[in-house]
């Protein structure tokens, strides 16, 4: 198990509020994006997800691994969304409640997409601050020049930092999820860097 994984389990099982930050950094954004799919047009998905985190904190439940926690969180968000829709008699309500079950193939596809991007997102987040900033800026479509101007550093520094970020991802992160960040020539997100 990785160090962060242990932190997350400790946070949830032992109710350690300091370590609970890791639960947020690991799941918050992805759960919001997942919830948005269901309730994005009728309420603020962030409120709904926040409530799930508080409920988990108040609940006496233990998880033996992150997979179990992920399952729990995705399912909680899903249920909360359905309940919200039902209680607020949203227009899509009947349609959603009829068709949707957590185990449905449609939902499985939503979860695959969410998990897929969550893993990439976590990989980037685990980079050092400066490297992370640069990766995120280039993700946002900014050119090396723009990044250099914004961060007040030279273009060459941007290039160097980017290269170091690739190396970091390649060396530090052992998960298969990080393969995708490197194409055969060892460059990250080639499409985004040009």
């Amino acid at each position: 198990m990785q160090k962060d994984d242990v932190h997350i389990l400790e946070a949830v099982n032992k109710k350690n509020s300091k370590l609970y930050k890791y639960v947020y950094t690991t799941y918050y954004a992805s759960l919001c994006r997942y919830a948005k799919r269901f309730v994005g047009d009728i309420c603020d998905e962030e409120d709904l997800v926040q409530e799930i985190f508080v409920k988990l904190w108040e609940k006496e439940i233990f998880f033996t691994n992150l997979k179990a926690l992920s399952t729990y969180l995705y399912r909680s968000v899903y249920n909360a969304c359905l309940i919200y829709i039902r209680d607020h008699k949203a227009e899509r309500s009947s349609e959603l409640l009829d068709v949707q079950v957590y185990e449905s193939e449609d939902n499985e596809r939503y979860l695959i997409e969410e998990e897929y991007f969550r893993q990439i997102y976590i990989a980037i987040n685990n980079l050092g601050t400066q490297r992370k900033t640069i990766i995120l800026m280039s993700l946002a479509g900014k050119s090396n020049e723009e990044i250099a101007t914004e961060l007040n550093i030279s273009i060459n520094t941007v290039k160097t930092l980017k290269r170091r970020a690739y190396n970091d991802l390649r060396n530090i992160l052992p998960l298969p999820a990080f393969f995708l960040l490197l194409n055969s020539s060892g460059y990250l997100f080639p499409n985004l860097l040009h």
């Binding site: 930050k21 918050y28 006496e60 033996t64 179990a68």
Partner: protein, 384 residues
């Protein structure tokens, strides 16, 4: 979730061009429904990746966490725990002293390591029709040919019966007993395969009658019944009967548990108790309560109930008491709870069956406030 994580892993490897041929085939199979293909094309596209990561980045988890810390800093009701802790203190001290005197430190030795790595080393006992007992061991092949022409032998998977259907007045019954720490697979004369869990017993005839097949189970077993519409298959479990028409299902009927649970994986079964009959469809589980003789069914996550045969213990919101009951049978230990409320702690997750009990307990201890003390074959559970 396992399936989802697997597909995610395959997609990541695909994008990185790191799929092995087997994985490639697996992914291809998943891609065959059009909806899956559309999804894969979408999430593997650079635009979608960029869009998704941008969306994720826009959510501010730090701000949300900050909000959370403010919300929980309001006083919470905690005195209940203090009270319990105060009550437990003398007991905890007593146990600590007891252990100290015995000079036994938790987790420094590994008394079960060897046993748990090779659970099949325990003696599984086959009782033949004439009362003769045969010990079944993995490394010692057994071959018995009896008068009625039935061939009984063991192979790498377990015990196998071979022989044609003979019309006989009197059936000859055999019985297999799997003790704690054991598990065993057998194949009956009709090709039906049964995977027996620890502390379980199966009684069955060497060959079946022409019109019906009947076996008797106590403990837990996973059945893959050979289809034969002319000869329905019955499993007698306590006072109930499961009527099967070619199918796979799991029966959990340990005597110390008040319920008999039958979980259907595929096919169709009927659960019969006196004049009540309950039909199950795949994904459903019946629960027969031995105390009030009630028979009910519900939809369940099937994998939770069949994981044991694939080398896992899987739990979803399961209380510690139940989890420890399963570990007791598998590691042949006795569990003592220092206080009853500990039994109510809920866990989700899975444990690998072939890991040692120390590994499981160490992990639980590391991430919870529960303390496990191992003393010979006993486990004491307390709060830290």
């Amino acid at each position: 979730m396992d399936r989802i994580l697997k597909i995610v892993r395959l997609l990541h490897k695909y994008k990185a061009g790191k799929l092995t041929p087997e994985e490639y085939a697996e992914l291809q199979e998943w891609l065959s429904p059009e909806k899956n293909r559309i999804l894969a094309e979408k999430i593997l596209s650079d635009e979608r990746e960029k869009e998704a990561l941008e969306e994720l980045t826009n959510y501010d988890s730090n701000r949300a966490y900050h909000q959370f810390t403010q919300q929980i800093s309001r006083p919470r009701i905690q005195h209940r725990w203090w009270w319990v802790a105060a009550m437990l203190l003398p007991l905890a001290i007593a146990i600590a002293l007891f252990l100290k005197i015995d000079n036994n430190t938790i987790f420094t030795k590994d008394p079960f390591a060897q046993q748990s790595e090779t659970p099949a080393k325990v003696e599984v006992i086959l009782t033949l029709g004439d009362g003769q007992k045969v010990v079944l061991e993995k490394d010692r092949p057994v071959c018995i040919r009896n008068i009625s022409g039935i061939m009984i032998h063991t192979d790498s998977s377990g015990l196998v019966y071979q022989g044609e259907v003979i019309e006989k007045e009197q059936l000859t019954y055999n019985e297999v007993y799997v003790p704690r720490r054991g598990e065993y697979t057998l194949q009956l004369s009709d090709g039906t395969r049964i995977f027996l869990n620890a502390d379980s017993r199966l009684k069955y005839p060497e060959t079946f009658k022409k019109d019906c097949r009947e076996v008797e189970l106590s403990g837990e077993g996973y059945f893959e019944v050979t289809k034969d519409p002319k000869r329905p298959f019955f499993v007698k479990v306590g006072d109930t009967k499961i009527c099967v028409l070619g199918t796979a299902f799991n029966v959990n009927a340990y005597k110390e548990i008040p319920e008999i649970k039958t979980t259907l994986i595929s096919g169709k079964v009927n659960i019969v108790y006196q004049d009540q009959t309950l039909e199950l469809i795949p994904g459903e589980q019946s629960r027969f309560n031995k105390n009030d003789a009630s028979l009910q069914k519900e939809r369940v996550n099937v994998s939770l109930y069949t994981a044991w045969k694939d080398g896992l213990f899987k739990f979803e919101h399961e209380n510690l008491e139940h989890i420890m009951m399963i570990l007791e049978r598998w590691y042949d230990i006795q569990v003592f709870f220092e206080s009853p409320h500990l039994k109510e702690y809920l866990f989700s997750g899975d444990l690998k069956k072939y890991d040692t009990i120390e590994e499981h307990l160490k992990m639980l201890e590391m991430t919870t406030n529960i303390h496990f003390t191992i003393q010979d074959h006993s486990v004491f559970i307390s709060n830290k």
